[in-house]
Symmetry: none
C-alpha cells in the first residue's frame, strides 16, 4: 500500500472527495450549500473533505469525475441527480461505471408509494424508476422524499461511493441518521483530527500571525497546525492536529493564544460578534440601546439577529438628519452647529441620549461619513465617531473606515460592538 | 482545430474552469459564495462555468488542478491564496507552474502603502510580499484590499489564467471593473453577447414563466434565449441572444415583458429593490421614515445602504418593547393591551406615528413574530403586520413569513418596500 494511504489509517482520518452534480448549482441559479453542510458535519467525525467539485449532469462529466476521484479517495460522496426526471442520471451512470445491474428494490418501492399516500397525492408511475437500485448496494430509505440514498464499495479499488439526493431537507437527515452510522461501521474511522477555532476582532491577519506564531514554534514542531481566516473585521485562528494523541497540544496552543492576544479573542467556534455580545449582556443582566446615524440601522439589525435579543435590546433610533438627532436623542443644536454632526461631542451626546431615553445600561452611537460622497479635507469619507455610554462613563473614539457603503457599516458596527464588549469585560473584572 | 472549440467561437461562448483555493472553504468554515457570484456575473457576458472545484491551499493541490483545468478550458479563474500569510501560496505556485520569475511591482507596492496610510494604520513589512508579481502578468490593482489580481496567458496552451483575491468585497469590484473589460479585449470569444435582466418582485417563478413565455414564442424562434433566476422574494428574467446583430430582438422582448407583467418589474440590471425605491422617491421629491419592531433595523439599514438615501430617509425607530412603541411613536397603550403588539391596529399607529413625528411623506412599519419562539395558535411564528402611511391614507396588510430569522427580515422588508413602491407609482400615475 502506498505511503499516504498508510498514513491515513494511522491517523484515523477519512479523506472525502465530494462531487456536487447539477447544472443549477454550476450556473449559479442555486447556491451550493451542500459543500459547507457536509464539511461541517464531517468534521464532527474526524473526516475531512479534501476535494470538492461541481459538475454538469451529463454522463461524461459524471464518469470523468468518478474515475479520478474514486482512485484518490477512500470515500466519495455525490449529491444530486437521483430524482425521477430526465436529467437525473447519476444512478444509471454509476451502475454502468461499477458494472452492476439495476433491479427494482421492493422496500424502496413501498416507501415511495407510502410517501404519496401519506400526502394523499396521486403517484405518477414514472417516479418508480427511483426504486431501481444497483444489485448489492446499501440502500438508505428517504424519509423526506422519494429518491433513496445509495452506498457502493468499488470491487477493485478499496473505496466507498455514497450517493445522496439533492434537496437539503432530504439529504441532511439521511446523512446524519443513516449514512454516518453506516460508514462508521464499514470504514476504519475515528476522531483523529482535533481542531479548535478562536475568533478574534480588532487585529489584522498579519499582525495576529506576527504575534502568536513565534511563540507556538515548539508546538508546531510537535504537529500543531495553524491556519488563519480573515473575515471582514475579524480573523479566525485555527489550531489543529492530525494526531488524536496530540489534542493536548491544541489545548496548550489555545491557552497560549489567550495569553498572548487574550482581549482580542471574542469567542471560540461558530459564534458571531453580535451573538457573543448579546450572550454576554444576558449573562450580566445588562440592557443596551442604539443611536445610529451613518450605520443606518445596521447595528440594531445585527443585535436583533440574535435569538433572545429582546431580553437585552430595548430600542434604537436611526437619526439620519440633525433634526432627528435633536428630537429623538436630545443632542444640542448649538453643538451640532459648532462641531458638526460628525464629531466627538455629538457621538457622546447620541450615546448618552439614547441610554437616558430608553433607560438601558449601555447606549451605543455611530456618526460618520459612509460615502461615497459627503467628505471634506478635514472630515474625509470614512471618518466615523463612535461612543459607548455605560454606568461608569462614556468612551468616545474615531476611525477612518474607507470601504464601500455596506462594508463601512459592517466594520463600524464591529468596532462599536467590540468597544461595548471590552467595556463589559472590564466592568465585570474591574 | 477540433469541433467543440470552433463551435465555441461561433457562438461566442467562453467556458470557464473555476478553482476556489482555501482550506477554510474546503472544511466548511466559510461558505463558498464565489462560485455563485462569478457564475451569475459571467452569465451576463455569455460565459459559463463548466466545472468548479474547491481545493486545499497546498502546492500539490494547486498544481494538480491547474494542470488538468488549463488543458481543458480557455479561461481558468482561481480565487484565494494571494494574501500575505504563510498559507497564501497561489502566487508562488503559479509562477513556478508558468516558469515565470516573481518581481516586485512598484505600482502595487505604492497601492499597498497607500491602503495603510489612508487608514492611518502601521503597515507590517510582511504585506509587501503581495507586490511580488510574475514578470509579464497583467496586474489588477486591488482598490479594496492589498493583494492584486493577476492574469497570465499560458505560453503553450491557448488559455488564460485569472487569479482573484479571496475576500468578496475585493473580488467583486475587481472582477466587474477590471477583469471583465480585460478579458473582453484579449479573448476573441469573450464579447458579442447581448443580455438584459429584468428584476421582478411579488410574483413566483412559474407564474412569471407562465405569463410571458407563450407571448415571446416568435422571438424565441429567432434566437431569443430566456432564463429565470429565483432569488428570495424576487425573480430575475434574463433576455439574451448570442448574436450581437440580434440585440433588437432583446429590446423587443424587454418591451413586451413590460407590457405583460409591468407592475411586477421594479428595475433592470443589478439594482436592488431598496435602490429602486430610493431612486423613485428622489425623482418624486418624497421622503420616508421607518418604525420597526420585528425587522429590528433591517428596513432602515436597507434604505440607507443606497448612496443618496440621506436625501429621502429622515429617520427610523427600532421599537422592540411596547414602552418604546408608546414613547417614540405614540402608539396607544390601550390598543397594545387590547390587540397586542402584533396587530393591524398597532402596525397602522406605528406607520402613522413615525410619519407624523418625522414629518416625512411616507411612514413604514413592521410588527410581527420573527421566531424561532414567541408564537401562539392564534398568532403563529412568522405572522407579521405591515403598514405604509402616505399622503392619501394608510395601507395595512399581513403575511405569514415562516423562515429563519434573517430570511424573515429580508422577506418582510421586501413586502413593505414593494407596497411603498406601488403606492408611489399609483400616486404618480393616479
Amino acid at each position: 500500500m502506498p505511503g499516504p494511504a498508510r498514513l491515513d489509517v494511522r491517523i484515523k482520518q477519512v479523506k472525502i472527495g465530494l462531487i456536487n452534480i447539477g447544472n443549477e448549482l454550476l450556473n449559479g441559479q442555486t447556491l451550493n450549500s451542500h459543500h459547507q453542510w457536509i464539511a461541517r458535519e464531517s468534521t464532527l467525525h474526524g473526516w475531512v473533505i479534501d476535494h470538492q467539485q461541481t459538475i454538469m449532469d451529463t454522463a461524461e462529466a459524471i464518469l470523468t469525475s468518478l474515475e479520478s476521484t474514486l482512485n484518490q479517495y477512500q470515500l466519495v460522496i455525490t449529491t444530486g441527480g437521483l430524482g425521477p426526471t430526465s436529467d437525473d442520471i447519476t444512478r444509471d451512470v454509476v451502475a454502468r461505471f461499477f458494472n452492476m445491474e439495476l433491479e427494482p428494490d421492493p422496500v424502496v418501492e413501498t416507501s415511495i408509494r407510502e410517501y404519496f399516500s401519506r400526502r394523499q397525492r396521486p403517484m405518477p408511475e414514472s417516479v418508480l424508476i427511483q426504486a431501481q437500485v444497483p444489485v448489492g448496494a446499501e440502500v438508505f430509505i428517504n424519509r423526506n422524499g422519494t429518491a433513496p440514498g445509495l452506498a457502493l464499495r468499488h470491487p477493485k479499488i478499496n473505496s466507498w461511493l455514497v450517493m445522496l439526493p439533492g434537496p437539503p431537507r432530504e439529504l441532511h437527515p439521511m446523512f446524519r441518521d443513516q449514512v454516518v452510522p453506516f460508514l462508521q461501521k464499514v470504514m476504519p474511522s475515528g476522531s483523529g483530527y482535533v481542531c479548535r477555532v478562536l475568533r478574534t476582532v480588532g487585529v489584522g491577519e498579519s499582525r495576529v500571525q506576527e504575534q502568536i506564531e513565534g511563540k507556538l514554534a515548539d508546538l508546531i514542531s510537535h504537529g500543531l497546525e495553524i491556519g488563519y481566516c480573515a473575515r471582514t473585521g475579524e480573523v479566525d485562528v485555527r489550531l489543529a492536529t492530525r494526531d488524536s494523541a496530540g489534542s493536548a497540544i491544541v489545548d496548550q496552543a489555545v491557552a497560549r493564544v489567550h495569553e498572548i492576544i487574550g482581549p482580542a479573542v471574542f469567542a471560540e467556534g461558530e459564534v458571531s460578534l453580535e451573538r457573543a455580545v448579546v450572550e454576554m449582556l444576558i449573562r450580566n443582566g445588562a440592557t443596551v440601546s442604539t443611536a445610529e446615524s451613518c450605520t443606518g440601522g445596521f447595528l440594531a439589525n445585527r443585535l436583533t439577529n440574535v435569538p433572545g435579543a429582546s431580553d437585552v435590546f430595548l430600542g434604537g433610533a436611526v437619526t439620519y438628519s440633525n433634526k432627528e438627532k435633536i428630537r429623538q436623542l436630545g443632542v444640542s443644536s448649538e453643538d451640532l452647529e459648532t462641531h458638526g454632526a460628525v464629531s466627538e461631542t455629538v457621538a457622546r451626546q447620541m450615546a448618552e441620549g439614547v441610554r437616558r431615553a430608553t433607560g438601558s445600561d449601555y447606549g451605543l452611537s455611530t456618526t460618520g461619513i459612509a460615502g461615497p460622497s459627503g467628505g471634506t479635507d478635514e472630515k474625509p469619507v470614512g471618518l466615523v465617531f463612535m461612543a459607548v455610554a455605560g454606568p461608569d462613563g462614556t468612551e468616545v473614539f474615531h476611525r477612518i473606515n474607507t470601504f464601500d457603503r455596506e462594508t463601512f457599516k459592517f466594520v463600524t458596527t464591529q468596532q462599536v460592538l467590540d468597544c461595548l464588549r471590552l467595556m463589559v469585560v472590564n466592568a465585570v473584572s474591574g
